[in-house]
Symmetry: C2
Subunit: 353 residues, 2 copies
């Protein structure tokens, strides 16, 4: 999941806060509207040094230990979708945020907001999925909380997890570290999570054989760091998809990014579903993929290590960081043309995670 | 805030899960119904060793550092009440959970679930209150997230915070450590938070000059630990009030507890409001108080240190742990009689925090 507290330096906010006297769905989409809220509401209110420079998780030091610390709320609808559930997301989303700083998640907190009247068996099924996902990711649920709100003030189950993990010595993964020349690697086929959730939304029902890619990325990241601890940036392209992830990295680092569209693996069912729905796969959410900015000399070796891991078999170098058009992401289309990948305003479909 | 993951050994669950095919408000009240959910739903699903023995926060070790880790969701209604707001609660509730293990909170995560249509200015006011409370508590908001749900699926603003802090050397505060002979100390007047929130609930409107006691207890706990690191138990009597806090300690430790009702400081406006509403002040939530179990030889010195602190001026020894009636809390009434302080089923009034 992408945190709201991003470094938004250099972003042009297309919709100033004063145009939104009330919160709209897009404020939760992880795009430009979310960034507005962080820039004009949360950052001034909280202040703080840690918050200023962060990506998906905060880097903090406590008792001599270098920790990554991250949180996300999960409000996905429906609670169960092809390939996963809100319980799986609540684990993997937070585990992956930690992994993007190189940390292996050690402990999770887990807070439920239940809506009065939700079936107890549904809560139990979600809790079981969450526990199984935690075991699969090698993380322990250490503490929790439960609140209940009246019927009509929730939507069955909302979950908020926070995670902590150790950042290995010598690892410094931050969006700001992207450098011209870096290879841009995507760990596999994009768009599956968003399309899987859309396929079971009321009103959007369509037959598609796509299941969510929801998975914990800690092991894949370890395999990559074993090649070199000097990876520059890792990011999981969740809300806002690959376009938002690349846009945030470009903005934070001030480098330009060029992507060869034809090299980005998009499965046929995702491509077809997006065509029907009028969506762009580059903007569709993923929950088990990462994008990496890797020094050019290490790129092939890192790619090889990724392909040797079950979650990176379809990894591909899809582009590179460049000196030109700083802060901007440009995609080369199949016909030799180019298009700018703007930061999305919100998510194409809300409550995807 | 009391976590749901309590050691519930020895509790008699008055309402087995099968009687509740659907979640009721009481499942979020921090009493016996919440414990049911933990025992029959969350604990079996998560497993884990850390979860098994915990009080308000988990004790974990990471990179050689001994950490306390805790989370709570905040769904209080209304968002602003006499003496505070959901933003203050979201900081102090989690900071206090850490303080109850002796840890000074270092970093907080902060995740908002906003309801579509809530005024942006309201979000900003809450964020400002949260930031100010964090500065007052000496804790840094390090990471965050924002999600938005459709109108009719939230209630303006829900907040979930998680906190981490260092546990000092030699400190081991757990409900299980209560021992017969321990003095039971309450840090001040009880019942203010619950009555303050009730006073502005629709349908309950009544004039009362009570403001919430919402405050960060880290400094008070440091002052107590300076007297002796060997305090046995600290607990903040939030949901379920003093009765629930004492009941949980009695159950976890297997000791009995005797309280002299007349020694428990209850302010006149709280007493009057409770009389009008038919409530028992012992079951009303507090947000800036603690109850301590202290070895008898240290009790007077600890009490003196508490009274020298602004948040402990009205501290009092109100009872003691005993060999008799293990796991049970008995209050001595003014007339020489006794009454059993049962664990509440839920909260007297839901969504108090």
């Amino acid at each position: 999941m992408s945190d709201t507290v991003l470094d938004i330096t250099g972003w042009t906010c297309p919709a100033p806060l004063r145009d939104h006297p009330r919160v709209v769905m897009g404020h939760g989409g992880g795009g430009a509207l979310s960034a507005e809220l962080v820039r004009h509401v949360f950052a001034p209110a909280y202040g703080g040094e840690v918050l200023a420079g962060m990506g998906d998780s905060a880097a903090v030091t406590l008792g001599g230990a270098r920790l990554a610390f991250s949180t996300d709320s999960y409000v996905v609808r429906p609670l169960f979708f092809p390939g996963g559930s809100i319980g799986d997301l609540a684990v993997n989303g937070t585990v992956n945020d930690l992994a993007m700083s190189g940390a292996r998640a050690a402990y999770l907190s887990c807070a439920f907001i239940l809506e009065e009247g939700v079936e107890t068996a549904t809560v139990a099924r979600v809790a079981e999925a969450l526990g199984a996902a935690a075991r699969a990711a090698g993380v322990e649920v250490a503490t929790g909380d439960t609140k209940v709100v009246e019927a009509g003030h929730g939507d069955g189950i909302y979950i908020t997890t926070a995670g902590i993990g150790l950042v290995p010595e010598g690892v410094d993964l931050r969006p700001q570290r992207a450098r011209p020349g870096d290879a841009v690697i995507v760990s596999g086929e994009i768009g599956a999570h968003g399309v899987a959730v859309m396929s079971c939304r009321e009103g959007l029902g369509f037959d598609v054989e796509t299941v969510s890619d929801c998975a914990p990325l800690g092991g894949l990241v370890e395999a990559m760091l074993a090649v070199t601890p000097d990876l520059h940036v890792l990011r999981d392209p969740t809300r806002g998809g690959l376009a938002a992830a690349l846009g945030e990295i470009a903005a934070a680092s001030g480098t330009g990014v060029v992507v060869d569209e034809g090299r980005v693996p998009v499965p046929e069912p995702v491509r077809n579903a997006c065509a029907v729905l009028g969506l762009d796969p580059f903007y569709v959410a993923n929950e088990g993929k990462l994008v990496a900015f890797v020094p050019p000399g290490d790129a092939e070796a890192v790619l090889e290590a990724m392909r040797a891991h079950p979650l990176g078999r379809r990894a591909a170098i899809v582009g590179r960081a460049v000196e030109e058009h700083p802060g901007m992401v440009v995609a080369r289309t199949g016909l030799g043309g180019t298009r700018v990948l703007d930061l999305p305003l919100g998510e194409q479909l809300p409550r995807i995670c």
